[in-house]
Each structure stands twice: as C-alpha cells, then as structure tokens.
C-alpha cells in the first residue's frame, strides 16, 4: 500500500481500474478533506491524529486519482462501471459449486433448461419468465429485498451436458452462469457443477451488505443445490421448523 500522502502516482494505464467513477470523485473530496485535517492537526501538535488522517487521506486521494484500490484488488471485488469485456482484469464475484444427484443427466438437464424452474435452485431469484426459445426475463430479490431485474439469453445449450447463459447488454446487474452435467461413476447419478459470475448491484457495497445480513452468496448456492438434490431424490426437503420444544422454565 502506498505510503500516505507521499507516493501518489499519476494514473498508470497498466493498473487495473476497480473503483467506479462516482466513488473516485467522492474519494478525492474526502481525501482532500482528510489531507487538510492532517495539516491542521500537525499545526496543533497532534502528530498521531495527523498520521491517521494522512493515511486515510492518502488512500482516498490515490484511489480517486488512479481509479485503483489495492484493497479492492485484494478482496477480488470492483466497483468499476466498465464491462468485463473491455477490462479482463477487473474483478467480479464468481461461485462454483458441485453436487451429485441420483438422477440421469438428461432428467436434470430437462429440469434446468426450463428456466422457470430456476428459482427453486437459486433462492435469490423471485421468478423467471420465458420470452422466447433462448431469452428470458429474470427477477431477483436483490439487495435489502429490493427487486432487481434483467434479461438473459442462452449462449450454449448441449442437451444433457451443458447450459450457459448471460445477462443482455445494458442489464442492471451483469451476470453469467453455466451448469454442467456429468455422469457420476458407480451408479451415483449425475454430478452437476454450477458456475455463477456476477457484479453485485451497487458494486462492492452490495456484496458486503449482503454478507452482513447473513446471506453469504456462496453458502446460499450450496444450500440451493442441496435442496434441489433433496427434492429430486426424495420429493421433499428436510425440516424441523414447526416441531415442539420445551421452554426450560
């Protein structure tokens, strides 16, 4: 991390941009305020406070100027507005989970290919409507239960093997996904591997808040796949909600 207030480098085109434009402006303003505060603290002989403000200010000014935050880079997230196609180094959130289900690849493919079924296996989805043979309209539960919507199209479709899709250009939240079906050995059915890539709405903040609210996306996807397996194999998902318990009075 650049030392505070000292090594502010001019914008380097080779450094990946991972801070969105609005955030850059805000960072510059806050950085300026912090820098002024640092100077004033020095003049009032409060070196510790000055040091802290210099550090904060320096970070803010750096990211505001260059559009690059080493912290974001370390977290693997970005609030940059550019699409992924133009900047392969910018980070988004990716999940990959696998589960084995005692059903044939064609059966599971058939279930998945009808995207109206997807809310059963991605619990962050409210519903999916079909537009035509390859396009669909998705409505998600989004952040703090505010709905987020987008259109998606199927880009790869091999029956019994793989389906992949991506959100259309101009979508509110960019995302793409794929599901692969592979026969599992020893009569164990099908191994499904799901990959989801998305840029959370409102950038980094969205994912962070979701995590705080207890909805860790990776764990959700794992649980969703588990529920799919339970539904497919037994026709129900196990529960203990609604069963009796004591109060220990």
């Amino acid at each position: 991390m650049a030392a505070p207030g000292v090594h502010i480098r001019p914008e380097q085109p080779s450094m990946p941009q991972n801070v969105g434009d609005l955030e850059r402006v805000v960072s510059l303003v806050l950085g300026g305020v912090a820098a002024l505060g640092a100077v004033s603290s020095l003049s009032r002989r409060r070196p510790l406070r000055a040091l802290v403000l210099m550090a904060l200010g320096g970070d803010m000014l750096y990211r505001g100027t260059t559009g690059y935050s080493p912290l974001y880079n370390a977290l693997g997230v970005t609030s940059d507005d550019a699409t992924f196609a133009s900047n392969p180094l910018s980070r988004v959130i990716t999940f990959k989970e696998s589960i084995t289900i005692m059903k044939s690849p064609s059966e599971l493919y058939g279930f998945w290919r009808d995207f109206r079924n997807l809310p059963r296996v991605m619990s962050y989805l409210e519903r999916v409507d079909l537009i035509d043979g390859t396009r669909s309209h998705w409505v998600a539960k989004g952040l703090a239960e505010l709905p987020v919507e987008w259109d998606a199209e199927i880009v790869q479709d091999e029956p019994g093997e793989v389906i992949s899709w991506r959100s259309l250009e101009g979508s509110e939240v960019y995302n793409r996904g794929s599901v692969q079906f592979e026969t599992a050995t020893a009569g164990r059915g099908t191994a499904i591997t799901v990959q989801l890539t998305y840029r959370p709405p409102a950038g980094l903040i969205g994912a962070a808040v979701a995590r705080l609210m207890g909805r860790s996306p990776a764990q959700e996807i794992k649980e969703d796949l588990r529920h799919l397996k339970q539904q497919m194999e037994t026709g129900e998902t196990p529960t203990v909600e609604g069963q009796p318990r004591g109060a220990c009075r």
Partner: protein
Amino acid sequence: MKAVTWCGKKDVRVADVEDPKMLRPHDAIIHVTRAAICGSDVHLYDGCVPTMKKGDILGHEAVGEVVEVGKEVYNLAPGDRVAVPSPISCGQCWYCKQGLWSLCDNTNPNAWMMEKAYGQSTAGIFGYSHMFGGYAGSQAEYVRVPFANVGPLKLPKEVTYEQALTLSDVFPTGYQAAEACNIHSGDVIAVWGCGPIGQFAVRSAFMLGAARVLAVDNDPARLELAAKAGAEIADFSKACVHSQLMEATGGRGPDACIDAVGLEAHGTTPDAVYDTIKVAARMGTEHAHALREAIMTCRKGGTISIIGVYAGLVDRFPIGAAFNKGLTFRMGQAHVHRYMRPLLDRILSHQIDPSFIFTHRFALDDAPKAYEMFSKKQDNCIKAMLQP
C-alpha cells in the same frame, strides 16, 4: 404432551409441550408406548456434545403405535405397532441404497453445520443436537417420524414392545459392532465397555461365530451380565487390561477389539489423565483411553471396531502402533435399518430375548431421576426404560 427436554448440563426436565405436527408428506406421528435412554444420551446429559439448545426434546429409541400418516406413506396405517430406528434416512440417496443408512445425504436440515465439522453431512438422528438435524426426540408421548415409509418396522403381535424397543438402536448397534469384526470361526473378540451396546456386542459376537469373547469393564454388575452370556471378564480396576488380555490369548492379543465405550472413557493411566486435563481445560473433547488400549492390545493384522461415539478430535493417537501392526479400522453410527428385520427374526425364533437389557423402568415423569441413575450407574442400572 409431556416430553423430556434438555435444559443444560446434567439438567433434564419433563415439560408440557405442543403435540408434534405433520410437516412433510412422508411423515407419520407415532404415539410412543416405550422409550429408552441410551449411553449416548448420557453424553448429551453430561454436556459433552456441542450444538444443543435449551428446550431440545431428547430420545432416539422408541416403539409405539401409528396415529397419523402423511399422504406419501403407503406402508403404514393408524393402529400399526412399530419400532422406530434412531437415524432418519430417506431411502433414495446413494448411501441409503447401499445400506449405509446412517450416512443418508438428505435428512439433515443443518447439513452445513456438520459439513463444517466433518467435511460432509450424515443422516439426521432423533433428539441428538442441532448438528445432527435438531429433530425433536422420542422420549415423549408422541413423536413425528420423517420418512415413515422407510424407517419404522411393523411389529408382529408375537413380539412385545419391550423386546422391540431394543431394535430401535441398541441391539442393531451392538450387532453391527460385532459384524464389523469380520469374525472367523475360532476368533477371540475383546469388547471394551459392558454397557448396553457392549452387552449386545458380546452376544452378537457369539452369534457370529466367535470362539471366545473377553469383556472389559470395572462395574461388577455389568461384568456379571457379560459373563452370563459366556464372556470372560477383565476388570480394569483390578489389573492392567493389556496384561490380562495378552495372558488370556497366549501372548497374541485378541483377533478383533470392539470399542463400545467412546468419548467418555474412564481411566487413571497417564494417557487417560492427559485426556481429563485437556477436557477440563476445554482444550479437548474426547477421552480415548479405551481406544488406545484396544489398539495396543489387538493382535497384529487384527480389526478395531469402534462403535462408541466420538465427536471431535483426539490427541496422542497411537497411529504408529496401528500402522505397523497393520490394523483394520471400522467404525460409525449404526445402520439400524439394515439389522431390524434380521434381528426381529432372531427374537421371533427365540434365539434371544433382548429385553433382559432393561434393568430399570421409569414413568416418563421420572426421567430426571432415570438419567441421574443411569449416568451414575447407581443401583446396578444398565439400561433405563421410560414409559409415557
């Protein structure tokens, strides 16, 4: 209804709770006529098992009468007498289809919890902490039984509820422990722990062709009960177990060793004391003295069959001894469903009357007294039955 609830370490209370409801199409509601307390319930009572919550209903051994069945249950009808196996298994996943019922993929609503602890999740169990599903147990007047189309065994009128109660857990468990020894005719089997599991392990070992069974414990009543089945006893309070068993086997060691003790093993040897200190300092959870002893005593190339419950991590595990002696380890929670029918047949053909194991009977209301007596082995209590 009345139910036995866990309210903290060494604190069980009989409480008035709601009757269970049908929650899924494969459920059934059973009116419990007899329930039992298991040695592993004592682990819960002693506070050894994490993820318990105050108010949890205990119990995983029960028999009774079907009261209500879900719309996907075709094999049972109200009025049927049944024994309910302790693990909850779906019957459809790969593990259930392999007969590995206690490893079912689909019956733990808290699978994520066990995955974190163990890598993958196993089957839910009645009344056995939230890591195992948080299911309400059967030490109560009624119990909701998920996957009733798979678990409960219909009982013919020739078998009593008391006999059948042993089929829900304790007899299949002891039998599995003995079966895991891969007994060849003429083998000498040693069993650590003469509690209910050990008692059935002793008897099952003979059923499966063992020539001799050596039973290890320090409780006189339990040793006597094992001797009644034909076992030779080794009292660990009298002399070193290793020496006793080596002498009894001409210096070879037993062909297979059953650990029917599990994580609350007692002992005063240095390794046992080490365990005690670690557990007291909350730096460990397991007392593995019996297991270590079994490893050191077992003959070269022999089998260690672990049926006593373990939950966490263990220190000072003699992996060197186990490796160099080429031991085979087999272990796990009992696949109860697999054994219920064959063992019922043995009861019906009068090969064994398993109800001998119940030394004490209590009304459900007296459950706190029953737990205390059973956990302290007072009054020669070997197994306690509860009658709602």
